[in-house]
Subunit: 601 residues, 2 copies
Amino acid sequence: MPIYSAPARDTRFVVNEVLDLASYAGLPGFESATPDMIDTVINEAGKFCSEVLAPLNQPGDEHGCTRHEDGSVTTPPGFKEAFEQFREAGWGTISAPEEFGGQGMPHVLGFVIEEFISSANQAFGMYPGLTNGAVSALLAKGSPEQQAKYVPKMIANEWLGTMNLTEPQCGTDLGLIRTKAEPQADGSYAITGTKIFISAGEHDLTDQIVHLVLAKTPGAPDSTKGISLFVVPKLLVNDDGSLGDRNGVSCGSIEHKMGIHANSTCVLNYDGAKGWLVGEENKGLAAMFIMMNAARLGVGIQGFSQAEAAYQNAVAYALDRRQGRALTGPSEPEEKADPIIVHPDVRRMLMDGKAFTEGFRALALWGALLVDLSHKAETEEERAEADLLLGLMTPVIKGYGTDKGFETAVNMQQVFGGHGYIKEWGMEQFVRDARITQIYEGTNGIQAMDLCGRKLAQNGGAAVQAFFKLVGEEASAAKGDETLGPIAERLEKALNEQQAATMWFMQNAMQNPNNLGAGAHHYMHIMGIVTLGLMWLRMARVAQEKLAEGVEDKAFYEAKLVTARYYAERFMPDAGALRRKLEAGSEAVMALGEEAFSTAA
Amino acid sequence: MPIYSAPARDTRFVVNEVLDLASYAGLPGFESATPDMIDTVINEAGKFCSEVLAPLNQPGDEHGCTRHEDGSVTTPPGFKEAFEQFREAGWGTISAPEEFGGQGMPHVLGFVIEEFISSANQAFGMYPGLTNGAVSALLAKGSPEQQAKYVPKMIANEWLGTMNLTEPQCGTDLGLIRTKAEPQADGSYAITGTKIFISAGEHDLTDQIVHLVLAKTPGAPDSTKGISLFVVPKLLVNDDGSLGDRNGVSCGSIEHKMGIHANSTCVLNYDGAKGWLVGEENKGLAAMFIMMNAARLGVGIQGFSQAEAAYQNAVAYALDRRQGRALTGPSEPEEKADPIIVHPDVRRMLMDGKAFTEGFRALALWGALLVDLSHKAETEEERAEADLLLGLMTPVIKGYGTDKGFETAVNMQQVFGGHGYIKEWGMEQFVRDARITQIYEGTNGIQAMDLCGRKLAQNGGAAVQAFFKLVGEEASAAKGDETLGPIAERLEKALNEQQAATMWFMQNAMQNPNNLGAGAHHYMHIMGIVTLGLMWLRMARVAQEKLAEGVEDKAFYEAKLVTARYYAERFMPDAGALRRKLEAGSEAVMALGEEAFSTAA
């Protein structure tokens, strides 16, 4: 059975020392996020995750969800009880707005909890996780009546939510959706169509499930400009808020997937189900993006969360398993063999895991802080700046985070040798579960196009220029320092690669947009490398300061400096290679006729 | 249901035009490998694989193997019948020596068939595949009596073979094995112990299974110098060759694995089983390596075979699935959306798949030719040279081939978006099956150490110097050419990176062997990039010649030139980044104390 314990020490480091949350105490909600309160949240949420959720992860994978003949779905044994505990403890309400029953604390804390939950049990975490996205859309676009009706119950996790976008003939290209919404005399709409891949589409954790559904009204334009968003509850809600009749939506089947077996991925059939328009007609795409952006940050955390869980297990295995001898001579001569952590190639994999997970934790929580600042910063200018950066970071957090999260899970499985391939050890589940994060809520190819095709160009490139300035200034400030200098210099070099790649896009994408498309994925990775590099420089700076102050747990801060150096040496060189690939352009990518891809004949 | 058809055209290209097998017609066994014969083999083996084996792949994965209470194991429905067809057609005998009933044809053809079988059904291919390794060991080290008794039946696939190395407490470090071999009065040994992860350890495809087992005789040195190899048949063989009593070996359980479910991976319990020493006492490791080297080439092919199968399906899906529009304007305006192959990022993934699979096919079959030449070349010098290169290439074919094979399978799954995650489409099985190839027959970390710690230094670096000369000369000869020049220049650049990395090892590994260990995996990848680069240069040269001659299927050869360029532009830049990581050395890799890897507390 795999282990999991919440990375409490590292989380405190990022929240209290790197982000310095206390310095934002003047902003609404931050005042209550004191170091003591943060400790309590970390410890209590961590305990729940390691003691309740983690033990259900492997059995949940084996058991999966069960659809019954009446269309109802039961989650794996223990999930319902665990969800009750989750709900009662209010873990889902931490950063939700107070006027709807939330605790109004910073999103930073919400993201901390999301990481822990997802590391312990990704399939479980998806049930409340998707609700967050649905709530965001209702808060942004729903009418006051809709908000009053749905949001408090959803925030309290008495009801859960879903996002219904995909149909058999359309995933990425939402202009192709066929689900129809016919206006009814009472102001509602009759929703008819088939939605697929609906995570948590049907289950037994709550009586009510609130579906947010994209559909087309009669005569709507035949493109993404003709999509509207509807709220379609599984059970109709009476005027007094009590639950009424069953609505015309049902689970047709559960998909058989590579992983996340404990989350019910449903085909949902809408058969004249009663729905209500959320926001304006034909403006569904904008509402969907609000839901989606929240979900994308969550998916980035999921990918990384599997890397973290896999990393913890790989470390434990590498310390326990004995094979061979250190190249420099036996480390434990009295034993028949040394623990495999003495082998440089095992170390390399573990250091890769450490450098990615710790670096990405800093990035994810910085992203959370940007969410908070985009809503709560004092001035309009600060809010706009945070929003700009957040928009730029979202595809990087989702795309780079899940690509590297999967890669890390695979490498941590590799540490186990043959045992990593055996189900009992749990490593292969981390790999299978992590794999979906590169795919859903927009494949990573879509993230790359969001980054390069939209975010780079927005406001005349204001976001990426702000990012360049940020990285450039921090790197420049650290360059003279003996310890930070080598890290800063490599970061500056990687930044130069990104700037050159950006320039190349500007010079070559206008004449041929395929030049952008063929390099977008590489660009996303370059930016991921630079961004995590910035995080490592920040962490190294804080570690250096703490060591100068004379802290007690010196080893923790010294390890940060070593890992920052490792990151600079072993992650950053890829930026140059990626730039060269990108600058090769689209010619060879696009040159072949379709028949040239066939291997037979 | 996923598709598969044997890549007949490309295989003919590599065998007849790139390797020019006809030019070796003077060597034994090659004279019968005429282009007509090769065509027949490709077509017939291809047909069997696509029509019989491929349809069993997905059902086999779902059904798995079943162990019964008496310890017997049944393979999935259809496997036994398919194996009968395989055996009757003699596909396992193609390149086996004629004096033991084989057809004595070049290994090149054997490898062609191995690829097709493994692409169609990796788990099936492992049953006869492991037998090849066992046969190699018996041919090299067995007594004439042992060879006569076992080899003809094994080559005819009337009996199948296994390799028994791993035990619960030891995988990589075979010095730790505990299985005992007690000498008996009749010259046999009583074998007692537990072996795990034994592929095809028990099944119903043949009555007899011939286990090759590593064990320790009484008083043997407590290291790899105390290991002996034994042949332990499941059923004792009577003097007349008929099958007798059951031997004391039984299947204790079948492992639950991430993939290759249709191959029975067994725990085998030896309880005083009768075994016979193969070769000399305490010299088992050398015999094991013969078995292992054959198996490692086979595993390299397996990894690549899953990439090929996944690639074929990704191409079909990308041509069929319609989402969005080409960035340069609708490619099929009359349809609601374009096929996704118009999107540069989808193309990038497909071109990555094409460049890797075609490049690696050329490498694998060149490797097979080296196997042939190491035995059959006219002069001792030529045989030694082929053997030297083969030894150098083996860890690259296994390690780089399976790392990239897995990566390719993952990327091909990505082309499917959400559907790639659904079992029904079969893509996730390719990923799960490919994953084992990075692990078994020596993890890829072990391959990297075999390459850097043993092969680079052997005979004063003769092998790698011969490789540098080969690549250098071919690149140099092509540099002035308008078409080949850019490819050759990039290859030369990658070669320079490898040479610099080699030099760095020489200068830094002596003083601290961790510098070698920390860079070995990177080095293996640099060498993989250079080697595939050499293959692409060769293929481009042949394509250029054919186009100059004025061939009919121009498109095929033009596609080779485009793909060679793509490979040069998109694979080769990594060599420089990998060198920089390698040259960072082991300091940051090894600096941390063990406690620094813990994330809790």
